[in-house]
Symmetry: C5
Subunit: 94 residues, 5 copies
Protein backbone atom coordinates (compact mmCIF):
# COMPACT_ATOMS: atom_id res chain seq x y z
CA UNK A 1 0.00 0.00 0.00
CA UNK A 2 1.08 3.58 -0.56
CA UNK A 3 0.72 6.72 1.56
CA UNK A 4 -1.05 9.75 0.11
CA UNK A 5 -2.97 12.91 0.91
CA UNK A 6 -6.46 13.63 -0.47
CA UNK A 7 -6.04 16.78 -2.58
CA UNK A 8 -9.41 16.95 -4.31
CA UNK A 9 -11.87 15.00 -6.43
CA UNK A 10 -12.71 14.41 -10.05
CA UNK A 11 -16.18 15.25 -11.46
CA UNK A 12 -17.37 13.05 -14.34
CA UNK A 13 -20.81 13.03 -15.97
CA UNK A 14 -19.92 10.38 -18.53
CA UNK A 15 -18.45 7.30 -16.85
CA UNK A 16 -18.74 3.53 -16.61
CA UNK A 17 -22.15 2.72 -15.08
CA UNK A 18 -20.65 0.76 -12.18
CA UNK A 19 -18.92 3.93 -10.95
CA UNK A 20 -22.24 5.80 -10.58
CA UNK A 21 -22.59 7.24 -7.09
CA UNK A 22 -18.97 6.56 -6.20
CA UNK A 23 -16.81 9.55 -5.34
CA UNK A 24 -13.57 9.68 -7.30
CA UNK A 25 -10.86 11.14 -5.08
CA UNK A 26 -7.69 12.81 -6.31
CA UNK A 27 -4.67 11.65 -4.30
CA UNK A 28 -1.13 12.96 -4.04
CA UNK A 29 1.28 10.24 -3.04
CA UNK A 30 3.58 11.25 -0.13
CA UNK A 31 6.71 9.89 1.52
CA UNK A 32 7.16 9.14 5.25
CA UNK A 33 7.79 12.83 6.01
CA UNK A 34 4.54 13.88 4.31
CA UNK A 35 6.29 15.39 1.28
CA UNK A 36 4.61 14.83 -2.11
CA UNK A 37 6.22 12.38 -4.54
CA UNK A 38 5.14 11.18 -7.97
CA UNK A 39 2.04 12.20 -9.93
CA UNK A 40 -1.52 12.58 -8.56
CA UNK A 41 -3.87 9.68 -9.20
CA UNK A 42 -7.61 8.99 -8.96
CA UNK A 43 -9.01 6.46 -6.48
CA UNK A 44 -12.27 5.28 -5.00
CA UNK A 45 -13.02 5.52 -1.28
CA UNK A 46 -13.85 2.50 0.89
CA UNK A 47 -13.84 4.20 4.29
CA UNK A 48 -15.12 7.79 3.95
CA UNK A 49 -12.25 10.26 3.92
CA UNK A 50 -12.14 14.02 3.84
CA UNK A 51 -10.15 16.50 1.82
CA UNK A 52 -6.64 17.09 3.17
CA UNK A 53 -6.49 13.84 5.15
CA UNK A 54 -3.47 11.56 5.07
CA UNK A 55 -4.53 8.08 3.96
CA UNK A 56 -3.17 4.80 2.61
CA UNK A 57 -4.49 3.19 -0.52
CA UNK A 58 -4.24 -0.15 -2.29
CA UNK A 59 -3.68 -0.68 -6.00
CA UNK A 60 -4.26 -3.37 -8.61
CA UNK A 61 -7.08 -5.93 -8.40
CA UNK A 62 -7.19 -5.61 -4.60
CA UNK A 63 -8.69 -2.13 -5.05
CA UNK A 64 -12.01 -3.73 -6.01
CA UNK A 65 -12.21 -6.02 -2.94
CA UNK A 66 -14.01 -3.52 -0.66
CA UNK A 67 -16.94 -3.47 -3.08
CA UNK A 68 -17.51 -7.26 -3.18
CA UNK A 69 -19.60 -8.88 -4.55
CA UNK A 70 -19.84 -6.00 -7.05
CA UNK A 71 -17.05 -6.06 -9.63
CA UNK A 72 -16.04 -2.42 -9.73
CA UNK A 73 -13.55 -1.46 -12.44
CA UNK A 74 -11.00 0.37 -10.29
CA UNK A 75 -7.27 -0.11 -9.72
CA UNK A 76 -6.89 2.23 -6.71
CA UNK A 77 -8.92 2.50 -3.50
CA UNK A 78 -8.46 4.31 -0.17
CA UNK A 79 -8.53 1.78 2.69
CA UNK A 80 -7.72 3.81 5.79
CA UNK A 81 -7.09 7.20 7.40
CA UNK A 82 -3.62 7.54 8.93
CA UNK A 83 -3.66 8.86 12.51
CA UNK A 84 0.10 8.97 12.72
CA UNK A 85 3.25 7.23 11.52
CA UNK A 86 5.64 5.64 14.04
CA UNK A 87 9.19 5.84 12.74
CA UNK A 88 11.44 3.47 14.71
CA UNK A 89 14.38 5.28 16.32
CA UNK A 90 16.74 2.55 15.16
CA UNK A 91 15.87 2.94 11.49
CA UNK A 92 18.14 5.92 11.01
CA UNK A 93 21.09 3.91 12.27
CA UNK A 94 20.76 1.10 9.75
CA UNK B 1 -6.84 5.32 -11.93
CA UNK B 2 -4.76 7.82 -13.85
CA UNK B 3 -5.66 11.09 -15.58
CA UNK B 4 -4.88 11.51 -19.27
CA UNK B 5 -5.80 13.36 -22.45
CA UNK B 6 -6.82 11.55 -25.67
CA UNK B 7 -4.16 12.53 -28.21
CA UNK B 8 -4.96 10.19 -31.08
CA UNK B 9 -5.55 6.59 -32.01
CA UNK B 10 -3.63 3.59 -33.29
CA UNK B 11 -4.56 1.87 -36.57
CA UNK B 12 -3.85 -1.87 -36.76
CA UNK B 13 -4.85 -4.29 -39.51
CA UNK B 14 -3.18 -7.29 -37.90
CA UNK B 15 -4.31 -7.72 -34.30
CA UNK B 16 -5.71 -10.23 -31.82
CA UNK B 17 -9.21 -11.22 -33.03
CA UNK B 18 -10.88 -10.13 -29.80
CA UNK B 19 -9.81 -6.55 -30.45
CA UNK B 20 -11.66 -6.43 -33.80
CA UNK B 21 -14.00 -3.45 -33.93
CA UNK B 22 -12.54 -1.87 -30.81
CA UNK B 23 -10.96 1.56 -31.19
CA UNK B 24 -7.47 1.77 -29.74
CA UNK B 25 -6.95 5.23 -28.28
CA UNK B 26 -3.60 6.88 -27.73
CA UNK B 27 -3.45 8.59 -24.32
CA UNK B 28 -1.04 11.07 -22.82
CA UNK B 29 -1.00 10.87 -19.04
CA UNK B 30 -1.35 14.28 -17.33
CA UNK B 31 -0.94 15.65 -13.83
CA UNK B 32 -3.57 17.64 -11.85
CA UNK B 33 -2.70 20.84 -13.73
CA UNK B 34 -3.21 19.15 -17.12
CA UNK B 35 0.49 19.04 -17.95
CA UNK B 36 1.72 15.89 -19.72
CA UNK B 37 3.82 13.38 -17.75
CA UNK B 38 5.28 10.02 -18.71
CA UNK B 39 5.02 8.23 -22.05
CA UNK B 40 1.88 7.88 -24.22
CA UNK B 41 0.04 4.57 -23.98
CA UNK B 42 -2.69 2.73 -25.88
CA UNK B 43 -6.06 1.98 -24.28
CA UNK B 44 -9.54 0.76 -25.15
CA UNK B 45 -12.62 2.92 -24.64
CA UNK B 46 -15.56 1.87 -22.44
CA UNK B 47 -17.54 5.12 -22.55
CA UNK B 48 -17.09 6.80 -25.96
CA UNK B 49 -14.59 9.62 -25.77
CA UNK B 50 -13.41 12.15 -28.33
CA UNK B 51 -10.01 13.38 -29.33
CA UNK B 52 -8.59 16.04 -27.02
CA UNK B 53 -10.84 15.15 -24.08
CA UNK B 54 -9.50 14.80 -20.54
CA UNK B 55 -10.33 11.34 -19.20
CA UNK B 56 -9.42 8.86 -16.49
CA UNK B 57 -8.42 5.30 -17.22
CA UNK B 58 -7.92 2.08 -15.33
CA UNK B 59 -5.02 -0.34 -15.75
CA UNK B 60 -4.25 -4.00 -15.10
CA UNK B 61 -6.89 -6.74 -15.13
CA UNK B 62 -9.62 -4.24 -14.24
CA UNK B 63 -9.29 -2.79 -17.75
CA UNK B 64 -11.13 -5.81 -19.13
CA UNK B 65 -14.11 -5.55 -16.73
CA UNK B 66 -16.20 -3.20 -18.90
CA UNK B 67 -16.31 -5.86 -21.62
CA UNK B 68 -17.65 -8.69 -19.42
CA UNK B 69 -18.43 -11.48 -20.12
CA UNK B 70 -15.98 -11.19 -23.03
CA UNK B 71 -12.36 -11.68 -21.96
CA UNK B 72 -10.64 -8.87 -23.83
CA UNK B 73 -6.83 -8.87 -23.70
CA UNK B 74 -6.26 -5.28 -22.60
CA UNK B 75 -4.45 -3.72 -19.65
CA UNK B 76 -5.75 -0.14 -20.07
CA UNK B 77 -9.27 1.19 -20.58
CA UNK B 78 -10.88 4.65 -20.47
CA UNK B 79 -13.69 4.68 -17.90
CA UNK B 80 -14.86 8.29 -17.79
CA UNK B 81 -14.66 11.81 -19.20
CA UNK B 82 -13.49 14.41 -16.67
CA UNK B 83 -15.75 17.49 -16.51
CA UNK B 84 -13.47 19.23 -14.03
CA UNK B 85 -11.09 18.61 -11.15
CA UNK B 86 -11.84 20.07 -7.70
CA UNK B 87 -8.59 20.85 -5.91
CA UNK B 88 -9.24 21.40 -2.21
CA UNK B 89 -8.04 24.80 -0.99
CA UNK B 90 -6.49 23.21 2.08
CA UNK B 91 -4.26 20.88 0.09
CA UNK B 92 -1.67 23.56 -0.57
CA UNK B 93 -1.29 24.14 3.16
CA UNK B 94 -0.43 20.59 4.03
CA UNK C 1 -1.08 -1.26 -23.78
CA UNK C 2 2.32 0.09 -24.73
CA UNK C 3 3.92 0.85 -28.10
CA UNK C 4 7.20 -0.83 -29.03
CA UNK C 5 9.43 -1.94 -31.87
CA UNK C 6 10.60 -5.55 -32.31
CA UNK C 7 14.39 -5.36 -32.03
CA UNK C 8 15.30 -9.04 -31.86
CA UNK C 9 14.59 -12.27 -30.06
CA UNK C 10 15.89 -14.30 -27.15
CA UNK C 11 17.19 -17.86 -27.61
CA UNK C 12 16.75 -20.20 -24.63
CA UNK C 13 17.40 -23.94 -24.50
CA UNK C 14 16.48 -24.27 -20.84
CA UNK C 15 13.05 -22.81 -20.16
CA UNK C 16 9.67 -23.54 -18.59
CA UNK C 17 8.07 -26.39 -20.59
CA UNK C 18 4.98 -24.35 -21.43
CA UNK C 19 7.12 -21.89 -23.37
CA UNK C 20 8.39 -24.64 -25.72
CA UNK C 21 7.85 -23.67 -29.35
CA UNK C 22 6.96 -20.08 -28.49
CA UNK C 23 9.18 -17.36 -29.93
CA UNK C 24 10.39 -14.90 -27.31
CA UNK C 25 10.64 -11.45 -28.88
CA UNK C 26 12.82 -8.64 -27.64
CA UNK C 27 10.94 -5.33 -27.65
CA UNK C 28 12.08 -1.74 -27.30
CA UNK C 29 9.31 0.46 -25.95
CA UNK C 30 8.79 3.67 -27.99
CA UNK C 31 6.90 6.92 -27.58
CA UNK C 32 4.37 8.40 -30.05
CA UNK C 33 7.19 9.74 -32.26
CA UNK C 34 8.83 6.31 -32.51
CA UNK C 35 11.76 7.23 -30.23
CA UNK C 36 12.92 4.52 -27.82
CA UNK C 37 12.13 4.93 -24.11
CA UNK C 38 12.80 2.66 -21.15
CA UNK C 39 14.57 -0.72 -21.13
CA UNK C 40 14.05 -3.58 -23.62
CA UNK C 41 11.77 -6.39 -22.48
CA UNK C 42 10.91 -9.92 -23.61
CA UNK C 43 7.42 -10.81 -24.82
CA UNK C 44 5.51 -13.60 -26.54
CA UNK C 45 3.80 -13.09 -29.89
CA UNK C 46 0.06 -13.64 -30.42
CA UNK C 47 -0.22 -12.32 -33.98
CA UNK C 48 2.98 -13.13 -35.91
CA UNK C 49 5.22 -10.09 -36.14
CA UNK C 50 8.52 -9.49 -37.87
CA UNK C 51 11.74 -7.88 -36.80
CA UNK C 52 11.71 -4.09 -36.98
CA UNK C 53 7.91 -3.79 -36.92
CA UNK C 54 6.10 -1.30 -34.71
CA UNK C 55 3.65 -3.13 -32.47
CA UNK C 56 1.58 -2.76 -29.32
CA UNK C 57 1.75 -5.19 -26.44
CA UNK C 58 -0.20 -5.97 -23.32
CA UNK C 59 1.27 -6.67 -19.89
CA UNK C 60 0.25 -8.40 -16.66
CA UNK C 61 -2.15 -11.35 -16.53
CA UNK C 62 -3.83 -10.25 -19.78
CA UNK C 63 -0.68 -11.29 -21.64
CA UNK C 64 -1.68 -14.94 -21.21
CA UNK C 65 -5.23 -14.49 -22.60
CA UNK C 66 -4.32 -15.12 -26.27
CA UNK C 67 -3.18 -18.62 -25.37
CA UNK C 68 -6.39 -19.72 -23.63
CA UNK C 69 -7.16 -22.35 -22.45
CA UNK C 70 -3.42 -22.94 -21.93
CA UNK C 71 -2.04 -21.15 -18.89
CA UNK C 72 1.18 -19.70 -20.25
CA UNK C 73 3.48 -18.07 -17.71
CA UNK C 74 4.07 -14.74 -19.45
CA UNK C 75 3.50 -11.13 -18.41
CA UNK C 76 3.97 -9.51 -21.84
CA UNK C 77 2.50 -10.37 -25.23
CA UNK C 78 2.37 -8.63 -28.63
CA UNK C 79 -1.26 -8.17 -29.71
CA UNK C 80 -1.08 -6.17 -32.91
CA UNK C 81 1.03 -4.59 -35.62
CA UNK C 82 0.68 -0.81 -35.86
CA UNK C 83 -0.02 0.45 -39.40
CA UNK C 84 0.13 4.08 -38.33
CA UNK C 85 -0.63 6.41 -35.45
CA UNK C 86 -3.19 9.21 -35.88
CA UNK C 87 -2.21 12.17 -33.70
CA UNK C 88 -5.14 14.57 -33.34
CA UNK C 89 -4.31 18.08 -34.53
CA UNK C 90 -5.93 19.57 -31.43
CA UNK C 91 -3.71 17.67 -29.00
CA UNK C 92 -0.82 20.08 -29.37
CA UNK C 93 -3.05 22.94 -28.25
CA UNK C 94 -4.10 21.41 -24.96
CA UNK D 1 9.98 -9.86 -4.47
CA UNK D 2 11.76 -6.79 -3.22
CA UNK D 3 14.20 -6.23 -0.35
CA UNK D 4 13.37 -3.69 2.33
CA UNK D 5 13.98 -2.63 5.91
CA UNK D 6 11.15 -2.17 8.45
CA UNK D 7 11.31 1.51 9.42
CA UNK D 8 8.12 1.89 11.42
CA UNK D 9 4.38 1.34 11.33
CA UNK D 10 1.22 3.20 10.43
CA UNK D 11 -1.54 3.76 13.01
CA UNK D 12 -5.10 3.95 11.63
CA UNK D 13 -8.35 4.10 13.60
CA UNK D 14 -10.54 4.32 10.51
CA UNK D 15 -9.77 1.50 8.08
CA UNK D 16 -11.34 -1.28 6.04
CA UNK D 17 -12.84 -3.81 8.48
CA UNK D 18 -10.78 -6.70 7.10
CA UNK D 19 -7.59 -4.94 8.18
CA UNK D 20 -8.68 -4.88 11.85
CA UNK D 21 -6.02 -6.41 14.09
CA UNK D 22 -3.43 -6.45 11.33
CA UNK D 23 -0.27 -4.42 11.89
CA UNK D 24 0.55 -2.11 9.00
CA UNK D 25 4.33 -1.89 8.63
CA UNK D 26 6.21 0.95 7.00
CA UNK D 27 8.96 -0.37 4.73
CA UNK D 28 11.92 1.31 3.07
CA UNK D 29 13.00 -0.55 -0.05
CA UNK D 30 16.77 -1.22 -0.15
CA UNK D 31 19.29 -2.41 -2.74
CA UNK D 32 21.71 -5.36 -2.35
CA UNK D 33 24.11 -3.22 -0.29
CA UNK D 34 21.36 -2.24 2.16
CA UNK D 35 21.10 1.34 0.90
CA UNK D 36 17.59 2.82 0.70
CA UNK D 37 16.01 3.30 -2.74
CA UNK D 38 12.57 4.55 -3.77
CA UNK D 39 9.74 5.74 -1.52
CA UNK D 40 8.55 4.05 1.69
CA UNK D 41 5.45 1.89 1.40
CA UNK D 42 2.95 0.23 3.76
CA UNK D 43 2.65 -3.56 3.97
CA UNK D 44 1.07 -6.29 6.07
CA UNK D 45 3.15 -8.88 7.92
CA UNK D 46 2.80 -12.64 7.34
CA UNK D 47 5.74 -13.82 9.44
CA UNK D 48 6.17 -11.53 12.47
CA UNK D 49 8.99 -9.07 11.92
CA UNK D 50 10.53 -6.44 14.14
CA UNK D 51 11.51 -2.86 13.59
CA UNK D 52 14.85 -2.40 11.85
CA UNK D 53 14.91 -5.91 10.36
CA UNK D 54 15.84 -6.55 6.74
CA UNK D 55 13.01 -8.42 5.01
CA UNK D 56 11.64 -9.32 1.59
CA UNK D 57 8.08 -8.61 0.56
CA UNK D 58 5.73 -9.57 -2.23
CA UNK D 59 3.42 -7.21 -4.12
CA UNK D 60 0.25 -7.40 -6.18
CA UNK D 61 -2.45 -10.04 -5.65
CA UNK D 62 0.10 -12.47 -4.19
CA UNK D 63 0.28 -10.24 -1.10
CA UNK D 64 -3.11 -11.57 0.02
CA UNK D 65 -2.16 -15.27 -0.31
CA UNK D 66 -0.77 -15.66 3.24
CA UNK D 67 -4.19 -14.78 4.64
CA UNK D 68 -6.16 -17.43 2.69
CA UNK D 69 -9.05 -18.14 2.79
CA UNK D 70 -9.68 -14.56 3.95
CA UNK D 71 -9.63 -12.06 1.10
CA UNK D 72 -7.56 -9.26 2.57
CA UNK D 73 -7.36 -6.06 0.51
CA UNK D 74 -3.60 -5.59 0.46
CA UNK D 75 -1.05 -5.28 -2.34
CA UNK D 76 2.11 -5.67 -0.24
CA UNK D 77 3.05 -8.25 2.41
CA UNK D 78 6.27 -9.20 4.23
CA UNK D 79 7.07 -12.89 3.61
CA UNK D 80 10.43 -13.42 5.26
CA UNK D 81 13.27 -12.07 7.38
CA UNK D 82 16.62 -11.94 5.57
CA UNK D 83 19.49 -13.53 7.55
CA UNK D 84 22.05 -12.55 4.95
CA UNK D 85 22.55 -12.03 1.24
CA UNK D 86 25.05 -14.17 -0.68
CA UNK D 87 26.53 -12.15 -3.52
CA UNK D 88 28.28 -14.45 -6.00
CA UNK D 89 31.93 -13.55 -6.51
CA UNK D 90 31.54 -13.89 -10.27
CA UNK D 91 28.75 -11.35 -10.53
CA UNK D 92 31.12 -8.38 -10.49
CA UNK D 93 32.97 -9.75 -13.52
CA UNK D 94 29.96 -9.92 -15.80
CA UNK E 1 9.31 -10.65 -19.18
CA UNK E 2 12.52 -8.93 -18.15
CA UNK E 3 16.17 -9.85 -18.69
CA UNK E 4 18.46 -10.21 -15.66
CA UNK E 5 21.62 -11.81 -14.35
CA UNK E 6 21.68 -14.02 -11.23
CA UNK E 7 23.94 -12.18 -8.78
CA UNK E 8 23.37 -14.21 -5.62
CA UNK E 9 20.73 -15.53 -3.28
CA UNK E 10 18.89 -14.56 -0.13
CA UNK E 11 19.06 -16.71 3.02
CA UNK E 12 15.98 -16.62 5.28
CA UNK E 13 15.27 -18.78 8.31
CA UNK E 14 11.96 -17.12 9.07
CA UNK E 15 9.68 -17.12 6.03
CA UNK E 16 6.21 -18.02 4.80
CA UNK E 17 5.83 -21.82 5.07
CA UNK E 18 5.04 -22.23 1.38
CA UNK E 19 8.49 -20.91 0.50
CA UNK E 20 10.24 -23.68 2.48
CA UNK E 21 12.77 -25.50 0.32
CA UNK E 22 12.58 -22.93 -2.45
CA UNK E 23 15.77 -21.07 -3.31
CA UNK E 24 15.36 -17.31 -3.36
CA UNK E 25 17.59 -15.87 -6.07
CA UNK E 26 18.87 -12.32 -6.20
CA UNK E 27 18.60 -10.87 -9.70
CA UNK E 28 20.07 -7.77 -11.31
CA UNK E 29 17.95 -6.58 -14.20
CA UNK E 30 19.99 -5.91 -17.38
CA UNK E 31 19.40 -4.24 -20.73
CA UNK E 32 19.98 -5.80 -24.18
CA UNK E 33 23.73 -5.11 -23.95
CA UNK E 34 23.99 -6.90 -20.59
CA UNK E 35 24.47 -3.70 -18.59
CA UNK E 36 22.71 -3.55 -15.21
CA UNK E 37 19.65 -1.30 -14.84
CA UNK E 38 17.31 -0.73 -11.92
CA UNK E 39 17.49 -2.26 -8.44
CA UNK E 40 18.16 -5.94 -7.61
CA UNK E 41 15.11 -8.05 -6.80
CA UNK E 42 14.39 -11.47 -5.30
CA UNK E 43 12.80 -14.24 -7.35
CA UNK E 44 12.06 -17.96 -7.24
CA UNK E 45 13.52 -20.39 -9.77
CA UNK E 46 11.39 -22.61 -12.02
CA UNK E 47 14.13 -24.03 -14.22
CA UNK E 48 17.34 -24.45 -12.16
CA UNK E 49 19.77 -21.64 -12.84
CA UNK E 50 23.28 -20.97 -11.64
CA UNK E 51 25.00 -17.93 -10.29
CA UNK E 52 26.16 -15.49 -12.97
CA UNK E 53 23.79 -16.81 -15.65
CA UNK E 54 21.74 -14.49 -17.85
CA UNK E 55 18.05 -15.35 -17.50
CA UNK E 56 14.57 -13.99 -18.13
CA UNK E 57 11.93 -13.77 -15.45
CA UNK E 58 8.22 -13.16 -15.22
CA UNK E 59 6.48 -10.92 -12.69
CA UNK E 60 3.04 -10.51 -11.15
CA UNK E 61 0.61 -13.39 -10.67
CA UNK E 62 2.18 -15.34 -13.55
CA UNK E 63 5.23 -15.90 -11.35
CA UNK E 64 3.26 -18.50 -9.37
CA UNK E 65 2.15 -20.50 -12.45
CA UNK E 66 5.20 -22.82 -12.58
CA UNK E 67 4.30 -24.14 -9.13
CA UNK E 68 0.70 -25.13 -9.94
CA UNK E 69 -1.35 -26.48 -8.28
CA UNK E 70 0.48 -25.04 -5.24
CA UNK E 71 -0.34 -21.39 -4.62
CA UNK E 72 3.09 -19.95 -3.94
CA UNK E 73 3.17 -16.34 -2.75
CA UNK E 74 5.70 -14.93 -5.20
CA UNK E 75 5.61 -12.09 -7.71
CA UNK E 76 8.83 -12.91 -9.58
CA UNK E 77 10.09 -16.20 -11.03
CA UNK E 78 12.95 -17.19 -13.37
CA UNK E 79 11.53 -19.03 -16.41
CA UNK E 80 14.52 -19.57 -18.66
CA UNK E 81 18.26 -19.34 -19.20
CA UNK E 82 19.26 -17.08 -22.11
CA UNK E 83 21.72 -18.72 -24.54
CA UNK E 84 22.05 -15.57 -26.60
CA UNK E 85 20.14 -12.52 -27.79
CA UNK E 86 19.60 -11.94 -31.52
CA UNK E 87 19.49 -8.22 -32.22
CA UNK E 88 18.05 -7.56 -35.68
CA UNK E 89 20.41 -5.58 -37.90
CA UNK E 90 17.58 -3.31 -39.01
CA UNK E 91 16.68 -2.21 -35.50
CA UNK E 92 19.42 0.40 -35.34
CA UNK E 93 18.03 2.10 -38.43
CA UNK E 94 14.56 2.71 -37.06
Amino acid sequence: MKLARVIGNVVCTIKDARLTGKKILLLQEIDDTGSPCGEPLAALDAVGVGSGEMIFFVTSKEAAFPFDPDEIPTDACVLGVIDHINLSSSSAGH
